[in-house]
Every structure is written in C-alpha cells, then in structure tokens.
C-alpha cells in the first residue's frame, strides 16, 4: 500500500508539472504578447512597456516559467492585475463558496442517484427500471442555464420563497445545489445502475444466494461493497466537475466562488488571476484524483495488501 501511495504521489506531481507548463504556454507563449490581450491594443507603447515590466514579461520565457514555478511552490501565484491583491488570497477567499456548493451538490446528488441506481438495477428490465432511467436521462439533458432561469423565475420571482443572488446564507445555496444536483444525479444513477448490474452478474453473487443469504443482504453487502469501488471514482469525477463547472451557476446566482472569479478574470483579461485560477483548480483536481486513488486502494484488498503496479 505504501509503495502504491508513493507511486501515485509521484505521478500526481508529474501531472501538476505538466499542468503548469501547458497553462504557461497557453497564456504566455501562444498569444505572443499577453499584455496586448490584457490592454486590448488601445494602450500606448509606454503603458505596454510598464505593464510588461510589472508582470516580468520582459524576461526570457524559461526564466519566467521557472520563476512562476518557484513562487507557485511557495504558495505565491502573483498579484491580480486589476484587483491589486495576491492571487492566492483571492482564490482562497473564493474557494469556500465553491467547495460548499460542490460538497452539498455531491451529497444531494448521491442521495438521489444511489437509491435510483440500485432500484433500477435490482428491477432491471421492469417498468421501475425504465421509469428511473428515463428520469435520469431527462435530468442529464436539462441545460443548467435554462433550468437556473426557470427556477429563478418560479422560486425567486413568482413564489418569492428563495433568494436568487448571493452566497451569504445556507438558503442561498438551495437553488444552485438543486440545479447542479439534478444534472449530476442523472449521469450518476445510470452509472451506479450499470455497476450494480455488473456486480450482480458475478459468480460470488450466486455463491451468496446458494448459501441462503437473503436477497436484501446479497445486494447491500456483497454487491454494494464491490460496486463501491467505481462509486468512489464517480464521486471524484463529480466533485471535480462541480468544482470546475459551477461557473454558470455561480455567475447566475452571483455567488462569490472560484468560477465567478474566473469569469471576472476572463472578462477583465486579468492574466495572473486566470493563470493562478487554472493552476489552482487543476491542483485541487489532481489532489482529488490522488485521494480517490488512495481510497480505492483502501477499499480493494487486492490493492491494499499487494500494492505495486496500478
């Protein structure tokens, strides 16, 4: 297990290195001169030179990259060009709202999708299965932008029951979480269903039945513990995509989260903030991946006890 963990950590560090390199190339090399994007070509040469110097862009690219990397490791992602505050500070103040949104969405969507998936799998082929799967497909197909608009209109305007802007109280989270969770529950319940069906087809299920184990325990113990492994992967994927994909929802509901910060940064062409945001979020992703892999290892005795390759 230790060897397995070490391997995973090493691999993650490599991926992070790649992430910073690609981000750096995208934002600093591809556009030629990032300052031109930032200043929108209207500025005079003097301003351009000043900004260039301020950002340290007048130095050779490799130097810039290693400087960026060195500072990043120390937790310094530069200073926001427009907000004039350290990028790390802006990011960590926005992280709270996004993390809350992400975790609540995850919890709600799992509470919906696990029972839906198991029920559909156990009664596969029946009308229950078909109804649940249709619902799941519908959930998956609802455009979140549209759903957000409709929910704002119904719950915020017509019923005036829930706040539709801000992220101050828990009540502010109800609508965003509902909208996101509906979307994710669709895909998740289909995946869980397939996994449970797969596990139900295993020989050990037949063995358990032949021992006289009641069907309830066959599903809840034998099947679920095996299906839990892919579900952990699923949780990782979902958490990642909520953290990275809540931008629309955060903007529509004016929540002070990472996504909205990113969109603000894009709109103001705030290069250091964009770069910081991409690297920061990617780091969170890589860490989530790592945690998922480690939990995976803990759940599966074959990995836990043996370790080694994959």
């Amino acid at each position: 297990m230790l060897k397995y963990a070490m391997e995973r950590i090493l691999q993650s560090s490599l991926v992070l290195l790649g992430v910073t390199l690609i981000t750096f190339i995208l934002l600093n090399v591809v556009p030629g001169d990032p300052v031109l994007i930032m200043l929108d070509q209207r500025a005079d040469q003097l301003t351009i030179d000043r900004v260039r110097h301020e950002l340290g862009i007048d130095r050779p690219l490799p130097t810039q990259y290693f400087e960026f990397l060195k500072n990043a490791v120390r937790g310094d992602l530069g200073t926001s060009f427009f907000k004039k505050r350290p990028v790390t500070e802006l990011l960590s103040s926005a992280f709270g709202a996004t993390a809350k949104l992400g975790l609540m969405t995850l919890a709600v969507s799992l509470c919906m999708s696990i029972p839906m998936g198991i029920l559909a799998a156990v009664f596969r082929g029946s009308i229950i299965d078909r109804a649940i799967m249709f619902l799941a497909m519908l959930f998956m197909s609802l455009p979140s932008l549209w759903l957000a608009m409709v929910f704002q209109l119904i719950f915020g305007v017509f019923l005036a029951a829930l706040p539709i802007s801000g992220s101050e109280t828990m009540r502010h989270y109800i609508l965003p979480v509902a909208i996101l969770a509906i979307g994710y529950a669709g895909g998740a319940s289909r995946l869980i269903r397939n996994n449970v069906i797969d596990s139900l087809g295993h020989d050990f299920v037949t063995t358990a039945r032949s021992k006289g184990v009641p069907e309830f325990f066959v599903v809840m113990q034998h099947v679920l513990k095996n299906a839990a492994i892919p579900i952990v992967t699923l949780i990782g994927i979902q958490l990642r995509s909520v953290l990275g994909g809540a931008m629309i929802i955060e903007t529509i509901f004016s929540m002070h989260g990472l996504g909205r910060l990113a969109i603000d940064a894009i709109n103001t062409r705030d290069m250091p903030l964009i770069q910081g945001n991409v690297v920061y979020t990617a780091t969170v992703f890589v860490v989530i991946n790592l945690v998922v892999d480690l939990v995976y290892g803990l759940l599966d005795p074959r990995v836990r006890l043996a370790g080694g390759e994959s």
């Binding site: 490599l14 991926v15 992070l16 790649g18 992430v19 690609i22 981000t23 995208l26 934002l27 591809v30 556009p31 994007i37 082929g125 249709f134 497909m137 519908l138 998956m140 197909s141 609802l142 455009p143 932008l145 549209w146 608009m149 409709v150 704002q152 209109l153 305007v157 995946l191 397939n194 996994n195 069906i197 797969d198 139900l200 087809g201 020989d203 037949t206 892919p230 990642r240 995509s241 953290l243 990275g244 994909g245 931008m247 629309i248 903007t251 529509i252 996504g259 990113a262 969109i263 894009i266 709109n267 062409r269 964009i274 945001n277 991409v278 979020t281 990617a282 992703f285 890589v286 991946n289």
Partner: protein, 302 residues
C-alpha cells in the same frame, strides 16, 4: 463459468458473435435498435433537427437577423408564432436559424475531437512503449484541467467566434475518445485475425486502416452520438460568457442568455430555445444510449 448464466451475459455473447461475423453487425444492430421505441422517437427527432439545420434558412417566415423595434418582446401571435425578442426580431425564425449554428458547432467540434482522439488512441494502443506512455501522460494532464475554465482561457487567447469554439472544444475533449480507442486497439492488436493478417505479411499501416479502425467504428459512432450534446451545451456556456457566435447571428445558447434579462416581462422568449435545446440533447442522449446497446454492448460501463 456459464453456470446460472444471466441475460446480460448472454446478450454480451450475442454481441461478440456479431463482431466476429462482422458483416452482420450493422444489420443486427439496426434490428435491435428498431425494437426500442424510445430510440426510434429520438432518431426521428434528430432527423427533424437536422432537417431544420439544413433547410432552416429557406423556411423562416421572417429574416432572423432583422428586427422591428416597434414590436419588441411581444408574446406569440399569428405573425410571430414564438413572439419577438428585445430587438423585435422574430423568435421563431431565430430558433430555426440557431438550430443550424448550434448543431453545426456540436457536430464539427466533436468530429475534431474524435479525429484527434482516434489518431492519438490508435498510435498509443498500436505502438505501445514510450509513445504510449507519452500520450497517456498527456491525456492525464489534459483531463486534470477544469474543462470549462481551460476552454474559456483558450477562447480568451484566440478571441470569440465559431472556429475558435471548435478549436477550444476539440483540443480538450479528445482525451476520452483516445482512452477508449487505445484500450480497444490494444485488445484487437493481439486478436487472432490481426495476428493472421500479420502472418500473411500485411504491413502496419494496412493493419491499422483495414483491421483496427474499421473494428473501432461502432465505438466511434457511439462516442460521436453521445458527445454531441456535451458540445452543444458548451456552446451555450460560451454564449453566456459572451464568447459565442458574433451578433447578430443566433444560436440556441445565445438566445437563451439574451432572454435571461427578459424572463419576467417576456417569459415565452426563453421557453422555445430552451425547449428545443433540451429536447435535442435528450434525443441525442437517448439515441446514443440505444445505439451503444445495439452496436457494442461491451461499451456499457465506459
């Protein structure tokens, strides 16, 4: 073990047998597809949307981009079936015109992603070794990025516009395709008939193009169908941020985001583009799902 064989496994065996028989595959898939009414309805709807996308411009009762400021934000009426927008343009005509752009973006962006993915996946799976390691790492790195944020950053660097949407989506979403194709190619590479072709003296390229890619075709078709809705949704997002198609052109995403301001005064404005968007995505999802079951039951959990 074949003991107490269950139905899914049995179907899987049937599916395998089809792949082996090769020629019967598409005919059999079609037969299986026909049995699912949902898939047929979805297919019909996709056909309808494609028809709109192709012939839409000849069908619009009004010029979709020409407004009449005298009739702004009107509810549906006899002249304007879906009402009018904030510039007095006919929503019905714009929804139809938007179909072409939204669908086009979905299909082309996915085709780009698919092309890159198939090439990368085949190379990685076929040659293995360090090439495979390199591509696999690249896939891993690219899938560690937050997709939308990264796509937005690309869009910012490249500027708004349809072509750039293609590039942004295409550059980022090939990784899934590559991963699937890589696995499949690796499995096929060691299969008996590829061995036989090799023994008969076929060179690498002809093995790739004659044996490996045709055998991945069903996977490719399924991925294409299932990923198009994602690309269409991404377009909505770009439009919302203001990085979508340039005005005055219409796309579903653009109409949806523009209508947001007028939710209260003209609620019908947002309904139609949203509804068409949702139904199209639903149709693609349903059809893709049925297609996968019909063509390649082994793909189920991917």
């Amino acid at each position: 073990m074949i003991l107490f064989r269950n139905r899914t496994k049995l179907y899987e065996e049937v599916g395998m047998a089809d792949v082996l028989r090769d020629t019967g595959l598409y005919k059999d898939a079609w037969r299986r597809l026909k049995r699912s009414p949902a898939a047929l309805v979805a297919m019909g709807f996709i056909g309808f949307v494609v028809f709109l996308a192709i012939f839409g411009p000849y069908l619009t009762p009004h010029d979709p981009n020409l407004g009449n400021l005298m009739v702004r934000l009107k509810p549906p009426s006899a002249t304007h079936w879906f009402g009018t927008d904030q510039l007095g343009r006919d929503v019905f005509s714009r929804v139809i015109a938007g179909t072409r752009i939204s669908l086009f973006i979905g299909v082309v962006a996915e085709l780009i992603a698919l092309t890159i993915g198939v090439i990368m996946g085949t190379i990685a799976g076929f040659f293995g070794g360090w090439v495979d390691k390199l591509i696999s790492r690249l896939i891993e790195i690219l899938s560690s990025f937050p997709f939308l944020l990264f796509a937005l950053a690309i869009m910012m660097v490249l500027g708004p516009g349809i072509i750039n949407i293609f590039i942004a989506i295409g550059l980022l979403s090939w990784t899934n395709v590559a991963r699937l194709i890589r696995g499949q190619v690796m499995r096929l590479k060691t299969s008996e008939y590829v061995m036989a072709a090799r023994a008969a003296g076929a060179n690498e390229l002809s093995i790739i193009f004659k044996h490996l890619i045709p055998n991945c075709m069903s996977t490719i078709i399924v991925i294409l169908t299932m990923d198009i809705p994602g690309a269409i949704m991404t377009e909505t997002f770009f439009s919302y941020i203001g990085m979508g198609v340039r005005p005055p052109h219409a796309s579903w995403g653009k109409m949806l985001s523009e209508s947001r301001m007028y939710m209260r005064t003209a609620p019908t404005y947002s309904i139609f583009s949203g509804l068409l968007l949702m139904l199209t995505v639903l149709a693609f999802n349903t059809f893709g799902d049925a297609l996968r079951d019909a063509l390649d039951p082994r793909l189920k959990n991917k």
